[in-house]
Symmetry: C2
Subunit: 460 residues, 2 copies
Amino acid sequence: MWGKLQGAIDRFSKIAQPGEEQEATNSKPRKFTYGRPEFLQLNDDEVQVCQDIYTRPIIVPRDEMLLLRTAGYAEVINGGKSKLNEDQSTSKQFFIKKKSVRNGAASTEIPLEPIPDGGPMNEIPVTYFAIFDGHAGPDAAVMASKLLHKLIEEKLNGVKDFIFEIAGPTKGQLGESKHDSKSISIHSLVIGALEQSFISMDQQIIDEKQNYTISGGCAVIVALFLLGKLYIANAGDCRAIYCNKKVTVQLSNDMTPHYERQRIMIQAMTRPELIGEDFTYNEYTRRITRNDIGKRILYRGPMMTGWSYKVADEDDLKVPLIFKLGGKSRLMQTIGVSRGFGDHDLRVFDSRIYLKPLLSAVPEVKVFDLKSNVEDAVLVMASDGLWDVITTEDVRTTVYNVLNQSRKDDPKRFNAVAQELVMQARGTPIHGMNGWTKKDGTAGSFDDITVLVIPLGDGV
Amino acid sequence: MWGKLQGAIDRFSKIAQPGEEQEATNSKPRKFTYGRPEFLQLNDDEVQVCQDIYTRPIIVPRDEMLLLRTAGYAEVINGGKSKLNEDQSTSKQFFIKKKSVRNGAASTEIPLEPIPDGGPMNEIPVTYFAIFDGHAGPDAAVMASKLLHKLIEEKLNGVKDFIFEIAGPTKGQLGESKHDSKSISIHSLVIGALEQSFISMDQQIIDEKQNYTISGGCAVIVALFLLGKLYIANAGDCRAIYCNKKVTVQLSNDMTPHYERQRIMIQAMTRPELIGEDFTYNEYTRRITRNDIGKRILYRGPMMTGWSYKVADEDDLKVPLIFKLGGKSRLMQTIGVSRGFGDHDLRVFDSRIYLKPLLSAVPEVKVFDLKSNVEDAVLVMASDGLWDVITTEDVRTTVYNVLNQSRKDDPKRFNAVAQELVMQARGTPIHGMNGWTKKDGTAGSFDDITVLVIPLGDGV
């Protein structure tokens, strides 16, 4: 078992079987045609140009296509790990509307509770940005980029009565007496709406696979601006950071098998049949060989954080469930990302073991107040194509270098920042070689790269 | 189902069926005779006196029986929730010995690795304090108080070669080349030894139940002083705090079903058969009734941290897996503590559902450096009998009030502190009533109370 897969591992790929679409091409149609993000408004020829893995052109929105909040965007395709750029992105504004329930417009909806009278607020604007980083096929990312915001809109409107009640003028009294909702805050409802819509999105992929080809899976990160707060919902290894002129703060945790060790180990321990006969949920400080059998070795079991010893037996020759391969932690030697959508058909190479039961579609959601410390600050969200090769601190330096060289009234300045970040991460082609190199001589990213740069305050 | 148990719930008890020993009295002998902590050196008559639930005498060590580190200790029995004081405590010193392997004394032992030559250190002293808070019978706590430190000694000595190598003069070089142990530090080995010995302790209870009566379960907290570091290993709802003249810092998290919600929910979701037909792993903001069916309600599922909505159905009438009853969160309406030893026979009242698969014996271990900030500091460890009625801040005030009134060279001053803390938590009997009241008029603790006060520096 050991090493069987190692030859197949591509350090550029999140999946140990690069290029292999998990779903055999069959007669089912695709639900959505492959394309680039809607806000780029590219025609078919332009989409083709984006997929040139030799020149790797950096794409930014046209001048007249400004994103919400004057956010900047840039993307580039990978250097050859897949035929298509499997990253996707979406930017939308929608509303939580008080009215649709009151006048019975949405008559099929079952009201949660009657909403209180009065209050000047009739709708709450929500600004949504998302990046989807696909693997083993483009479809899950494309589908989620078209639908996730609609699910979030639906789930938020599903609790609108609560939200308006808590946000509205009749606050306190009603909030407590009518709903036992003492502990229910707006942000717990927004977090719940995000969590629920991610779960629904993944369920919809399962449901629609009956009729459509939906290949692969995707990591996803969402930024939601709502009532003066920023919500970051992350399921995968995209990443969001806050930076101002002095500091950077990472706003999301990368959801890798290594980071999620305990959740995964507990599930595997609880249902050992999920990991089959070839894997073990013990960890070791080194590879255990037949020579070790009968001798004492260091190990740690599920739920342990320290190291202890045991006498090695045959079971210790099995492959650890979570193990670093090619520099990245992988679950059952297969996948390097532990949350996201899709991957329902993904199996361990040459086995009947499915990965999906140990993966999760639920995001980790963090909330940040936008009332202070935002004056000169920006939010940078990107797929791991950026973060694999550039430190958060270098990102911050680049952000303010570019901004300082631009006029504050130039609405395209954040596109310039995004473009420069993608450029630095991609680097330049090595003459005559299938590789890219950064300015400092180290390897550029061979992965798809997508970057959003979103100003948080007016003083940037 | 709802309310069926509520009448049986005693707010003083960690278990919803107070007084009921989980194991039917049968012909099996007890492995250890019930008694009070060994360091108190009480004879049978004195043990009897300790069990007076009407006068509730506060017990401290005799003058000549000083604990290690001149630590203070005090205990008192509960006000009637059980016949015996089910708390136990242990204080021991033992050693990690280089020699026993080298001269082959422990010849049955399989050496982990040959140890390097030289180095002045031949043994590492380890100072151990523990509190065990039993429930539903005294045996698990008694047994663990007699055996846990031996297991820890065994597990630490099992990795002694590593510990001496890392701590010794040949450090760096050997540590990396011989063992692939780059990431193995002494503290990760101590944490592993603690985790492994807790797991072994619980397994030993299972094994010995074949031949002995071992009733109930227990929470456990351990403080280990080793090579300039303090390790706090906690499995249950005992608690350790650091305090100096200015601040208190909680050194352990109370392991309740509420705190451990995610671990427990994931296990239940992964194996729903563990929770039977009467419980649900969804949570609600209020009790759901038959009137709610078909209407939208707020809920959250496993792995969600926010609240969302769903249309209520029959399943939502089930009892939430983790729910606050009588002010404390309980798992399946039964137990208020989610980690510890024993409880292997504990079932949900009037059902076949066992609690144990959702409980854990593994401690959460935290490490604190004793090189700085310890001059005037003390460690206070106590069962929940103390923490239920006194805030950490009030504990700190009392500690320094008593210490300031005593001479620094009085070796018994920490006993005086422990005694005063127990006194304050117990309070005084309410004349003619089965209750106790604190100085401020609020209810005193009706529970067993055990307090250890351990100086951390020389300047206290």
